[in-house]
Each structure stands twice: as C-alpha cells, then as structure tokens.
Symmetry: C2
Subunit: 226 residues, 2 copies
DNA sequence: TGAATTGTGATTGTATGCAATTCTACAATT
DNA sequence: AATTGTAGAATTGCATACAATCACAATTCA
C-alpha cells in the first residue's frame, strides 16, 4: 500500500531467528562458530536488541548456546545428543503414525504415497541428496496429518536437531539407504492396509535404526565430537 | 544499581524468568492475565530489556503468549492442550522407565521406593495435596535416573505444562486417587522384579489414565476453556 | 625465567529514549 | 441508537548509550 512491498507484519526478532536458524540448519554456520552480536547486527542491518531476542528463541530450540558474558555460539552437536534425539523421535513418530492413520483423509493418504513415490524416483536415479530431503518431508508431513499441536511442535524441534546432525554427516551409503527404503515401503503397505499398530511398530523401528545409522555415520566421518 | 547482597552471578533475565515461571506454575498468575511490562518492571525493579528477554524464554516453554504489539499474557490452557501433553508424556515416561531401570543404582532404586512410601503415607492420612506433590516428584525423579539429557529437558517442559493444568483443577477424588495409587504400587513391584517392558507398559497406561482424569476433572470444574 | 597481576580493549548485560502500533473515548454521521 | 472516524493516551518494538565482565597481553616481582 505504501512501501515497495507489503508492510512487514511480523517482528524483526522472529525474522532474524528464521534467518539464523536456516543458516545453522544448513551448515552455513557450523557448530561452535561464534555468533558475534556486532558482526551479525551489521550484516543484517539491525540493532542488538532484536538479535538477542532471537538468540533466546534459538537457544530454546537447542540450536544456539548462550554462555553468560562470553557470547553466543552455534550449539555444538555431540554424537550422544543426536542419538538421544532419535531415542525420543522413535516413540513420538510412532504415536504420530497412529494418530495420523485415524485422522487423515484420502487426499492426505495419497499425498504420503506421492512423497514415497518421489523418494523412490530419487532412489532409483541414485540421487542421495534428493532421498535425504524427501525423507525429511515424508516424516514431517505424516506428523502433520496427526493434527496434534503438541506433538507437532515437539517433533519439529527434535527433528530440526536431528536434521542438523544429518546435514553435517555424509549421506547414507547404499546399504543403509536400501534398508531405509525397505522400511518406508513396508510402512506404506501397512498404512494402506490400515494396520495401525503394525505401522506404528514399523515407524518406531525405522526411526531407531535411522538414528543408529546417523550416529555411526557421524562417528566414522568425525565431524562431530563424542 | 545497588547490590545489597553478594554479587549475582547469573543474568537478570534468567532470574526474572524463574520468578515469573514460579508465579505462573503456582497459579498466582492465572491464564490470560496480562503481563504488563512496566508494571512488572517496577515491581521487580529492573528495566524492560531483561524482562522482555525472560518473556521469550517463557514463551518457548509454553507458559507465556506474546501477541505482537499487544503485549504478553499468561498462556491460556486449553483442555485439549493438556490432553495432548499427556499423549506425549505417556510414551516418554515409558521410555524413561526403561532407561532408568537399566541405569539406576541400588540407592536410586531405594530413593524411588522411599518416594512411593511417602506417597502412601499421604494417601493413608488423606492428604491429597501431599499425594499430588509427591507424585510429581516421583515421576521427575524416575526420569532423572534415566540419565538422558534430551528426555530430561523435553519431559521437564511437558511436565511443567501438565502440572499447570493440574494446579488449576481440584485434586483427584478418592476413586481416581485409588486407581493412581494402585498403578504406582504395581509399578514399584515390577521395578523390583526388574521387569522392564512390563514396567514401561504400566507407566504408559498410568500416565495415559492420569491424563484422562485430569482432562475430566478440568472439564467438570470449568476452570479451563475447551 | 616464570608465575602472578594488573591494565586495556573488546564484548556482553542492562537501562533508557524514541518511533511505531494499538487501544480508548468521544464526537460526527447515518 | 448504532456505526464510523479520529485524536490522544498507553504500550510495545527497536535503537542506542552506558555499565559490567571477560580475555589477553604487557608488566612486575620472586
């Protein structure tokens, strides 16, 4: 109406948080990198107040560590922590599948199947990065269909943390990928058959195994500390 | 600023967060109460900056809702949300029991038994408030023995939210309390017998049922909105 | 020479001021 | 009487200034 684009309705600190979050998630900012307030302020052309507020959000999400009087750093990832995150994701995603299966519509179901098909495409064309990203979307979409706010929020936070670990590590080798794909295939069949408890079990085991894979991969590649 | 007592080592905003958190948890500040910045600043004798930072922390914990340009309020509790929180607590506490049983020492075990005995004392003397508080401690202590940081943190946050709902509602009636006590008794026996999966199952069902009780109680008492 | 110490620069923590937004009350219009 | 418009007050959002703290190097003394 007045400015070049529409008036910016959401607060600066949340935009800043989003920016920094993305940079951390994608590995542009790496664990233990210092987050100098002054440097970031100049770059983002904001003052320190909204930046510091954003840090608080990100700290709560586990992406940033604030050390009193010593400044903020990108939260370090310990292999143990990543493993622990998967410990929680397993039962939560199992719960998510249970809920989703009682609540999702026919279109929701076909959306999940479509994502699975897309993942198969990437798999067959040997696109590991594509597989990796579609897998993330597959799980998040399924959780969304559970229509459960608390689960959604909690899962999002944990999922982000696990994804950070996965971004840092190399992609799965062929064998691990085969196993993950097989689990997804099983899961899709089980969902189509409306076998709720079986689906939940498959998901639980799949996430647990993925966690082990990620931990192993991280340990081998040596990018994260113990 | 004058420092009447010893130098305070931890930042103002975290002290402020702790103060406000307690007031909200204990119901001194009730859902939808406005948290006026100036009023709180004057009362706590601080400036607005640390208070606003504290609000960010509390928002992430789900205790405060910040409405842009309209100020912060104590987060409202919906009965649905409380129910959802218990949906997550059930599998997480089950996981906690599993881990705790593989990791806790003999002293840890007797600490749990002692808490259970204390709860029986309160139960038999008809002290519902005592039962209520001891129950909270019982569950938190058990989770602590799991020695699992991510679980600890996630559980703490969810547990706080559930506890808020329970503070608001009247205490359980005799029948509900009987059932909860029976579950605890079963659990203790199962733990003593080192039956891990059975204990996890008991805990899962116990937390689920407690959730239903809390939701029912809240609905009947009419203190929280749907 | 080396350990302790103190000074200095850089950085974070807190307070405060100004701008932007929202709320309230009251008047004008239909 | 109900609704809309508008001015002013109150409150939040952001920027900036100042105070407290930390890291590290230069200096002192054993």
């Amino acid at each position: 109406m007045n400015k070049t684009s529409a008036i910016n309705r959401n607060p600066l600190h949340s935009q800043v948080a989003a920016t920094v979050r993305d940079r951390i998630m994608q590995g542009e900012l790496r664990p233990a990198d210092r987050l100098s307030e002054i440097a970031l302020c100049e770059e983002l052309e904001i003052s320190r107040t909204p930046l510091r507020e954003a840090f608080k959000l990100l700290e709560a999400e586990g992406l940033v560590t604030i050390r009193p009087h010593k400044g903020a750093i990108v939260a370090e990832i310990s292999i143990q922590e990543i493993g622990e995150v998967f410990d929680l994701l397993a039962p939560l995603e199992a719960l998510g599948v249970r809920l989703a299966m009682t609540r999702m519509s026919a279109e929701d179901k076909s959306r999940i199947v479509a994502l699975h098909d897309q993942m198969i495409q990437f798999y067959e064309s040997g696109d590991r990065e594509g597989c990796f990203l579609t897998d993330y979307e597959f799980h998040n979409t399924l959780i969304g269909f559970a229509q459960h706010d608390v689960l959604q929020t909690t899962h999002q936070s944990l999922s982000n943390r696990s994804q950070r670990g996965r971004y840092l590590a190399p992609r799965f080798d062929q064998q691990k990928l085969d196993i993950a794909m097989a689990a997804h295939r099983e899961l899709i069949v089980s969902i189509k058959d409306d076998e709720i408890e079986k689906s939940a079990q498959i998901m639980h085991d799949h996430v647990t195994l993925t966690g082990k894979f990620v931990v192993d991969t991280l340990r081998d590649s040596g990018v994260a500390r113990d």
